[in-house]
Symmetry: C2
Subunit: 430 residues, 2 copies
C-alpha cells in the first residue's frame, strides 16, 4: 500500500486531480499540490475545502515548486512523505519530475508526453526520445512509472487493450476519435494551454499505418462519423502521444488519432499558422525586441481554466476498433461521453480538464492498492484495463460500447485477475 500524493501543476487538470484525490483520501492519504505559482495551488486547496471534497478529515496543502529543479522536487517528496507523484504540470517538466521519482523510489504518473520547448513533432516513437530511455532504471529501482494516464493518452489506451483482450481475436485497425461538442461562448479559445495545444498541430502529423509511420499535414485527411450523443462530427488525422506506445505494445497494423474541429477553429488556426504566429521560433520586432509569436498568441487568448463557468455541451472520446472475432468481421466503438456543466458543478473545471484529470487519480488509487503497482515503467495499455475502467465508472467517467447489439454501458463488476497472474504482479501482463 502506497500513500500520500504529490500533485505537480496547478492548471485546470490539476484542479480536477486535487478534487478527485481528495474524494479518495481514505485510500490516498495526504494531498499536496505544488507549482511555480503558489497562489494557483492555494486557490485549488480553497476550492477543495469549499466544495467539501475531502472524503475524510485530512491534509491538503499548497507548495511553491520549480519542478525543473530535481533536488527541490526530491526534497518536497521527502518532506511530504509522498509515495505517489501525479505530474499534471507543463509537458516540459516530465523528465525532471520522473528523475526525482526514480531517485526517491516513489511512483510516477503523468498524462502527456515530455516535450522540449524548442522542438516540435520529433522522430517517432516520441516516447523513445525521452521517457523510455529510463525504462531500465525504473525496473532496476523497482519504481512504478505509468506514462500517459489521462484520457487520451490514457483511457483510450485502456479501451484499445480491452478491445484486443475481450472483443477480438485479431485487430486490423484502431481509430481513436476525440470530439468536443461543447461550446465555451468565446470567439476563440483552446481547451488547455494554447502553447501545448498548437504545438500538436503545427508540425508533421504522424500516424501508424500498414505497421509503419506515415506522415501527413494537419487538416489534410478528415473523416465524418455519426457518433453516440454528439451526432455527426468531422475529425482530422492528427499526431498524438498514444500512437507512439500503442504501435509498439499492440500488434495492430493501423492505429490513428482523429481530433474533431469546427470550421471556425480551423479558420483561426489556419490564419495564425500561415501568418507565422504559431511559431515557437523567436522573431524580432522593428524596435529590436526578440519574442516568440506563439507566446504572444497565448497571452491574448483566454486562460483555459476561465472557460469552465460558461462551458456547455458534451465530449465524446473513444476507440473505433475493427477486426475479426470467431472468423467474422467485427466493429466496436468503446467510448465515454462527458458533460462540461456537470464537470464544473462537481469540481469547478470544464469537461476537457475533467476527462484528463480523473484518470490519473484512478491510476493512483490502483497503484496505492497494489493492483497497478507494477514496479517498472509502463504505458497504460500494458496494464489490465478492467480495474481501471471499472474504477472510472464509479468516479464519473462511464465506459460505453456500441457494437452489433447497439449502445450500452459496460460494467466491470466481478472482474478478477486472470489465474495466471501472480498477486501483486497483475500489472505486468503484457
Amino acid at each position: 500500500m502506497k500513500k500520500n500524493v504529490l500533485i505537480i501543476g496547478a492548471g485546470g487538470v490539476a484542479q480536477v486531480v486535487a478534487h478527485k484525490a481528495a474524494m479518495a483520501n481514505d485510500v490516498l492519504g495526504d494531498i499536496h499540490i505544488a507549482s511555480r505559482t503558489l497562489d494557483k495551488c492555494q486557490a485549488i486547496v480553497s476550492s477543495v475545502l469549499e466544495k467539501k471534497s475531502l472524503k475524510k478529515p485530512g491534509v491538503i496543502e499548497a507548495h511553491r515548486l520549480d519542478a525543473l529543479d530535481i533536488e527541490a522536487t526530491k526534497a518536497l517528496i521527502a518532506k511530504t512523505r509522498s509515495q505517489i507523484v501525479i505530474n499534471v504540470g507543463s509537458a516540459f517538466i516530465n523528465m525532471s519530475v520522473l528523475e526525482a521519482c526514480i531517485q526517491t523510489g516513489v511512483a510516477y504518473i503523468d498524462t502527456a508526453i515530455h516535450e522540449e520547448p524548442e522542438k516540435i513533432c520529433e522522430t517517432p516513437p516520441w516516447y523513445g526520445n525521452y521517457e523510455w530511455k529510463r525504462r531500465e532504471r525504473c525496473e532496476k529501482a523497482g519504481v512504478t512509472a505509468i506514462l500517459g494516464a489521462g484520457f487520451d493518452p490514457g483511457v483510450v489506451n485502456a479501451y484499445a487493450a480491452l478491445a484486443v483482450d475481450e472483443y477480438f481475436d485479431t485487430v486490423d485497425s484502431i481509430d481513436i476519435i476525440d470530439i468536443n461538442a461543447g461550446s465555451h461562448g468565446k470567439y476563440f479559445a483552446t481547451n488547455f494551454d494554447p502553447e501545448i495545444n498548437f504545438r500538436e498541430f503545427t508540425g508533421v502529423v504522424y500516424s501508424w499505418q500498414d505497421s509503419q509511420w506515415q506522415t501527413n499535414k494537419m487538416f489534410e485527411v478528415s473523416r465524418t462519423d455519426d457518433l453516440p450523443v454528439v451526432g455527426e462530427r468531422t475529425s482530422y488525422l492528427s499526431g498524438h502521444d498514444e500512437l507512439h506506445s500503442l504501435s509498439r505494445n499492440l500488434d495492430v497494423p493501423d492505429i490513428r488519432f482523429w481530433m474533431g474541429f469546427g470550421e471556425h477553429y480551423i479558420n483561426v488556426f489556419t490564419v495564425l499558422k500561415n501568418l507565422g504566429l504559431l511559431s515557437e521560433q523567436p522573431v524580432t520586432t522593428a524596435e529590436g525586441l526578440e519574442v516568440v509569436p506563439l507566446k504572444v498568441v497565448k497571452a491574448v487568448l483566454p486562460d483555459p481554466s476561465s472557460l469552465a463557468p460558461e462551458y456547455e455541451g458534451k465530449t465524446c472520446i473513444g476507440d473505433l476498433v475493427k477486426g475479426k472475432k470467431d472468423g467474422e468481421d467485427r466493429e466496436v466503438f468503446i467510448y465515454n461521453v462527458a458533460d462540461h456543466k456537470e464537470a464544473y458543478n462537481e469540481v469547478g473545471s470544464q469537461g476537457i480538464s475533467y476527462t484528463a484529470g480523473v484518470p490519473p487519480v484512478a491510476a493512483a488509487i490502483l497503484v496505492a492498492k497494489g493492483t497497478w503497482d507494477c514496479h517498472k515503467m509502463v504505458n497504460v495499455e500494458e496494464l489490465p484495463p478492467q480495474p481501471f475502467l471499472g474504477l472510472l465508472n464509479k468516479m464519473g467517467l462511464q465506459t460505453s460500447i456500441r457494437d452489433e447489439n447497439g449502445e450500452r454501458d459496460l460494467s466491470f463488476e466481478g472482474w478478477t485477475p486472470p489465474a495466471t497472474a501472480i498477486a501483486g504482479k497483475v500489472a505486468g501482463k503484457r
Copy 2:
C-alpha cells in the same frame, strides 16, 4: 524658385519619391534621402543610379536621421541647403519634421496625417488635433506646408476640388473609392506599414454625413460598384485622413471613404482583431515579457516593399461625385488606374507605393516653380487642382473621368490661373 529636396523616410513610397524627384532634378536640384536606417537610404540611392533615373548629372545622397530629433533635422536641412522637405516617413514623425521646417523656413510636404503611437482614431477632425494647431505659425513665418499630398489623401482631394470647380453648381456627395485589384501572391500582406495599415481599421470609423460626423464599425457598411477597368468591386466604409479636411474646406454634406477588401483580407483581419492581436496596447507573456501584439504581427508579415517584384494587376482610385449642374442631377467619377507591374518596372516599387509617391513630387515641383508655393499651411483641396493633375498626367498618373458621356482621359493643357488670381498667390484660392 525653391530647390534642393530632402526626402525623409526610406520605405516603398520613399523609393518612388526618390526616383520621381531624380527624374525632375533639373527643377528640384539636389536630392537627399534620410531615415533612421542609413542602409535603406543607400539602397534607394543605388536603385536611382542603377535605373539612371537622374534627369541630369546631380547630387543624390543618403543620410542617417532620427526625424523625431528636431535639431538634427534642422541641421540636415541647413547642411543640404534643402528648401523643400518631402516627409514620407512614419506617421509618428510629422509634427517633429514640420517643426523643423517652420523653424528653418523651408517648405513642408507630407502624404499622411500625424499619429501618436498609443492613440488611434482620435476625435475628428484629426488635422485639428495636430497639424492645424500650427497653421498660424506657418502663415506668420510664410512657410508653405502642404498636408496630405499623396494619392488618398492628396490626388482624391484635388479630384474633389476639380468636381466642385468645373463639373457642378452644387455637390451633394463625394464618395472616395479605393480599390486595389492587384495580387501580390503571398498568403497575406499589407501594402504599406502593417502597423499604420491596421491602425486605420481597428477603431471607430468616422464619416461625414448630413454635415456631421457619424460613427460606424469597420466592415459594417459596404457598397458594390462596377468600376472602370477593375470591374465589379465591394468596398467598405472606412475612416481616412481626407474626410477631416474636405469636410471643413468644401461645402458638401456627405463625404465618405470606401476601401476595397477581398473576403480573405477581411477574414484574416477579423481573426487577428477578435483575438486582440491588432492591439496597440502591450500584453504580458507567461514569461513576463511585455510586448505590443500589433508589433509582433508586423514582424511576421512580409515587408511591404518586398511585394513589388511579384505584384500584378491594377488599382482604381477615384471620387464618385453627385450633385446638380444647370439644374440637372449629375454623377461623375474622376479616377486613376495604375498598374503594379508598370510601377515596378519604372521605379522598383508596387502600385500602391507608386500612387502614393508620385503626387508629393508633383507637389514639390509646383512649389519649386511657385505655382503652389502658397506660404501657408493648406490641404490639397485648397490649391488649384488643374496644374497638379496636369503634371501628374505627364508623370505617370493619368486622370480619367466617367460621366454621362462615357469614360475618357482628362487633359489640363492650356489651363491658366483664373484672372482673379494674383501672380504667386494662385495657391490661396479658397
